[in-house]
Symmetry: C2
Subunit: 350 residues, 2 copies
């Protein structure tokens, strides 16, 4: 598949707001526990072992593309991947999530954070990308990174959090420390993402998964400056840039101001509602993944509605509003992809 004559660039075109012959799609967390092949691998290897072995990681990344025939691959890894390189001890604990035993809460803690050198610190990520892009994929590979707020929330709380109390207390109570932390995480993100693009990633999704816990007022003051810097520095690399967060409907106006190409919506706001609110970027989303647990006619009805809204103007990519759940069936995702392609190519003609 290294032959790029057959390269499928539908996803990239839609990202840039261009017309496409059908609606491209991919699914957040398309590689993972919903796939029997992945579950079998996980009996032999840990997440750490999979991501550190390029051949294995490329296989996991590629698998859903081959099974579902989606229009993009997303590199299999975790948003925590770059943190150990700057001195944050991350351990992924089953049933809990990422746990950090040296939380960052003071100016000294922030000053102690180092810089990332991708070639030295995460060569396995870059090798996986090269392998996929140069030899294996005929669809674009999406690289990604966690955004500074979301990463900071784990670093400050010491793990997953419900209310982000410590994070917000630091933000509001000690803005100097906060902005220094944003500055360092911003630099790390830029370096990390540029390395992914240089290795061959054809688009980048920034996951600010938990930033919906802030209101627009706080977003503008505490988050938007670093996000503006990140997107403006990434722009020179000339690949589509995607922004996504959960429960962040009240922040998409702010995202629409940033120099990015695609806004990913969770399922809370419809594509039509977002357009009515004046969102001009390409939209990506937004089937509630829970609907994939319902019978097919229910899925089909809802997918049609979403596609009809998405196709109302160019610049639309189908996705779920959140990651694939482990109990969603492979056959459902196969059928879903085929339906999206068929229904949208009929409507969009050619």
């Amino acid at each position: 598949m290294s032959n790029h004559r057959n390269f499928n660039d539908t996803f990239l075109k839609a990202s840039r707001g261009e017309k496409t012959p059908y609606v491209p799609c991919w699914y957040m967390r398309q590689a993972g526990r919903s796939q029997p092949e992945y579950r079998a691998l996980k009996e032999k290897y840990s997440l750490f072992e999979i991501t550190h072995q390029p051949e294995l990681c490329a296989y996991v990344t590629r698998l859903p593309v081959e099974q579902y025939q989606v229009d993009a691959a997303i590199l299999y890894k975790d948003i925590m991947t770059p943190l150990p390189a700057i001195g944050v001890n991350v351990e992924i604990k089953g049933g809990i999530g990422p746990v950090i035993d040296n939380p960052v809460r003071t100016m000294e803690d922030v000053e102690r954070l180092g810089e990332i050198n991708p070639a030295e610190d995460i060569p396995y990520v870059l090798d996986t990308i090269k392998l996929l892009v140069n030899e294996q994929l005929n669809v674009p590979l999406i690289g990604f990174a966690g955004a500074p707020f979301t990463l900071a929330s784990y670093m400050i709380e010491g793990g997953p959090s419900k209310n982000y109390n410590k994070t917000k207390a630091l933000m509001h109570g000690n803005p100097e420390v906060w902005f220094k932390l944003m500055d360092k995480l911003g630099t790390m993100t830029i370096t990390y993402v540029k390395a992914q693009i240089d290795a061959g990633a054809k688009a980048i999704q920034i996951f600010d998964s938990w930033v919906g816990a802030l209101n627009a007022h706080d977003y503008r003051r505490f988050i938007k400056p670093v996000m503006t810097r990140i997107f403006s520095e990434l722009r020179e690399k000339n690949v589509p840039l995607i922004m996504f967060g959960v429960g962040a409907s009240h922040l998409i106006h702010e995202w629409n101001d940033l120099d990015l190409d695609v806004i990913g919506l969770d399922w809370r706001l419809s594509i039509a509602e977002a357009r009515n609110m004046g969102i001009t970027k390409t939209l990506q989303g937004n089937l509630d993944p829970a609907i994939l647990l319902a019978p097919w006619p229910v899925i089909e009805e809802r997918v049609k509605e979403i596609l009809d809204q998405g196709m109302a103007q160019p610049g639309y990519i189908f996705n779920l509003g959140h990651g694939v759940f482990p109990d969603i069936q492979v056959d459902t995702l196969k059928k879903l992809t085929a339906f999206i392609h068929e229904y949208s190519s009929e409507k969009l003609g050619q």
Copy 2:
């Protein structure tokens, strides 16, 4: 304090959209673990024991009114309170939340659910209300209930949930069972709330805490019918009706259609943004409780902004955007209440 000559009805007036000499306030979860007296009580008694002893429960309910000088009391109890009466085995597990060992997932499960008879099933709730209203409080007592979606989510999942997969799968996959369940929970809620009002509750807050997990499309189809019925049946009791949910900014248009008086906002959307979106009800909210962990000048600045937005038209009640966290200091809430009263009475004159 049984003498009602000194009854403070500022909260009730604001609920009804009338002018008030100052902005009334109360705080969700104002009674609870943030208070040292409560923590001392909890060393001797369980939640179950406190809520089942009217004298004790009235004391816990009254304590924040006396300490903070807020303008309303809210009955100390749990949204799960009515469920055992209809046959749902609820156990509140520390560190987890409500756990239910007989989840409701089939038509048979739903048909098995009984009806609530408040005088027989929850006499302690009604006795607590009477004691507070007839003998102790000089501010309105707010009664409350969980809304059908939120209760159903615990009943179907068997406990707290992150993604509400089983709940949504039932809703989408088996609407007949879903609507039967909504019907039964609607009837229970109406009976339960009416009994609280008859016992003396002067206002009612309906907590649809987790309904923000649905989009407006699903809300209109699966939730709005039962909420319409609940509010229309409660209307005859002629007390202010308040609606609240977390992360539900995208649903407040739907709430604005319902026959209720007050919409409670979490901190994600500002009072001004909600007004700009066309929300006409009294608004209640919406300081992010995490800000109460920051130094006082930060709190004061944010509270002023919220008050200025709230006072732009009659029909505003100050509250937090979520419950008081256990680590928020009593002195902070005292100072907050005094500041709200002082600042708003200066601005509103009289």
